[in-house]
């Protein structure tokens, strides 16, 4: 030990000539730990890009629906209801099955992001619509329009700032949803395929009970998913407090 005392007991190292695998190896002998870290790139960017896309779609549609009301609002709301009443997983499956098998991994990656955000925007659109409906009757909004402020000005100066904190929170909370969605799709073999590594792809290896029983460390990517989802929830909470210092 420390080059002084000869010793054969090992606390935290491997046999001479061996390599240290912190989380063990998979069936092909690849290091699970480094694959989890590598997979984070894909899993996190899918979440971020997906949320960004659904944010834009949801915000535009929600503001439009809430501010103009009337029949466009009705059409949009019924559309959202239809979209939401589909069971998500079969819908994801159908959409990702529609992606051509000949696509390169990068194209598949972008396609999956699109599929996820295509379904993800409905919740945000509804929240934005609800907020706008409530806010546009507020006295200060009425006062602004009495003063002659234009529609865009009211929207950008009075309506949007009043619910940015709300949007931030729902976005950070939507992020885990995206990550989970990607994980679920890849786990089922419909999402990303092996040359690309994501947490879902890694978990696919842990699909059968025997594998889990004999090699429990293959579940390590699930741990990464849990930690990430929790972390984003905490970030959301923190941002809400930070974004609303003027709360009455």
């Amino acid at each position: 030990m420390w080059g002084l005392i000869p010793c054969t007991r090992r606390l935290l190292s491997v046999a001479p000539g061996g390599t240290l695998f912190l989380l063990g190896t998979d069936s092909l002998g690849r290091d699970v730990f480094s694959r989890v870290i590598y997979g984070a790139r894909i899993s996190l960017t899918i979440g971020l890009i997906g949320v960004a896309l659904s944010f834009v779609i949801g915000l535009v549609i929600g503001v439009f629906s809430g501010y103009y009301g009337g029949w466009p609002d009705h059409v949009i709301q019924r559309g959202i209801e239809i979209l939401r009443s589909f069971p998500t997983i079969p819908l994801w499956m159908a959409l990702s099955a529609a992606l051509p098998a000949s696509w390169s991994p990068l194209q598949v990656y972008l396609g999956i992001t699109l599929v996820l955000s295509f379904i993800g925007w409905t919740g945000l659109a509804r929240q934005v619509r609800g907020k706008i409906l409530a806010l546009r009757e507020e006295d200060f909004v009425v006062a602004a329009s009495l003063l002659g402020a234009g529609r865009w000005r009211i929207m950008l100066r009075h309506l949007l700032p009043s619910f940015t904190s709300h949007i931030i929170v729902s976005l950070t909370l939507a992020l885990p949803g995206m990550i989970l969605g990607e994980t679920a799709l890849s786990f089922l073999g419909l999402g990303l395929r092996p040359p690309i590594t994501s947490w879902g792809v890694l978990l696919k290896e842990a699909q059968n009970v025997q594998a889990i029983a004999s090699y429990p460390w293959l579940l390590a990517p699930a741990l990464a998913v849990i930690v990430t989802v929790l972390a984003f929830n905490f970030v959301g909470d923190g941002l809400r407090d930070a974004a609303d210092p003027y709360a009455r």
Partner: protein, 336 residues
């Protein structure tokens, strides 16, 4: 039924009606209407204050909001300085609203919590291009000075102010576009009594300095007496008595006005004033009583009251009353 002093009126309202439809069932059939305002007429001479008083639900606020077209009238005419407001297309409405402003009841909900005082006031100036960019700050400070806000508070947010100061900001915002008419919807009812007087005095002071015309909506009669030149008493969407403040407060004619005035507390404990206690509740404006809306609660009810409604009849100079018993043509002698 010409209201007082029509010849140099800034605002004249004729037969203003607002019925809110009640929709029922799957196909939203209109099954009835809430008769919020039911044929209201009055006029305000330039530089004067008319108060609309009445219980909650008597249509005061709805009337005030219709004048600015915040609520679209069902029928009736609104003439502001010769312009027919009710028939004005939207783009021209914007220009008109520069001359008519609104002070809100709730000083908390009426200010955007995310905008500083400066931003709130500058927005009004920017919207109508009233001050070039370079002079905006100076103009904002001038406005703040006008309503008695210290200049160093320009960059504070509304939550740093008290209710009374917030109402001052609301007044400054209304004044920013240099209006002629201000509709004040119970501007002091959300404030402490000690602050109420300050705000009322400020409003009177501004009226003298800027020649403003006020439509003051209120339910607190002592407040109304303090500020008004003319008073119109509303009951269930109709005006039952209208006249100069002095006449209405000293010599009320309509039984409802009398009951209302008798409910005002008197500071003198020995001033043995008899209170008129009305029985029953205000009837529903969905299904108002026949004839005079007040007859089910009226102590002086006669047969005619239940069948036909009496319109406003002039009972004295600048004094109109809608009552069969006390203001029927020929009963003018009954003015007390």
């Amino acid at each position: 039924m010409n209201p007082p002093a029509t010849n140099h009126a800034l605002l004249t309202v004729t037969d203003l009606v607002k019925h809110f439809p009640i929709r029922k069932g799957v196909f939203s059939r209109v099954s009835g209407a809430v008769r919020a305002v039911d044929g209201v007429s009055f006029s305000i001479p330039k530089g004067k204050t008319l108060s609309l008083v009445g219980e909650s639900g008597s249509g005061k606020t709805t009337t005030g909001k219709m004048i600015l077209r915040l609520i679209e009238p069902t029928s009736g005419a609104i003439r502001f300085d010769g312009i027919d407001v009710a028939a004005l297309p939207k783009p021209e409405l914007r220009a008109l609203r520069r001359r008519m402003q609104f002070i809100f009841q709730d000083p908390y909900g009426s200010l955007n919590p995310r905008m500083t005082v400066y931003a709130v006031l500058a927005e009004a100036l920017a919207a109508h291009n009233l001050a070039p960019r370079g002079k905006r700050r100076a103009r904002v400070l001038e406005l703040m000075d006008l309503v008695g806000l210290p200049p160093e508070s320009a960059d504070r947010y509304p939550n740093e102010f008290s209710g009374g100061q917030r109402q001052r900001i609301g007044i400054a915002r209304a004044l920013a576009v240099e209006p002629d008419l201000i509709v004040a919807d119970e501007p002091v009812s959300a404030l402490d009594v000690s602050i109420q007087a300050q705000i009322l005095n400020l409003m009177e002071d501004l009226q003298d300095r800027l020649g403003l015309t006020y439509l003051f909506i209120g339910h607190d009669l002592s407040v109304v007496q303090h500020i008004s030149d003319y008073v119109a008493v509303m009951y269930l969407g109709r005006i039952v008595e209208m006249g100069s403040a002095e006449t209405v407060f000293q010599h009320p004619v309509h039984p409802y006005t009398k009951a209302l005035l008798s409910a005002v507390p008197v500071p003198d404990p020995r001033g043995g004033k008899q209170r008129i206690i009305l029985t029953g509740d205000v009837p529903s404006p969905i299904n108002p009583p026949s004839g005079c809306f007040f007859h089910p609660r009226c102590p002086d009810r006669q047969n005619a009251c239940t069948s036909t409604a009496q319109s406003l009849v002039e009972v004295g100079s600048e004094h109109c009353v809608a009552c069969h018993v006390h203001a029927a043509p020929g009963s003018i002698s009954s003015i007390g």
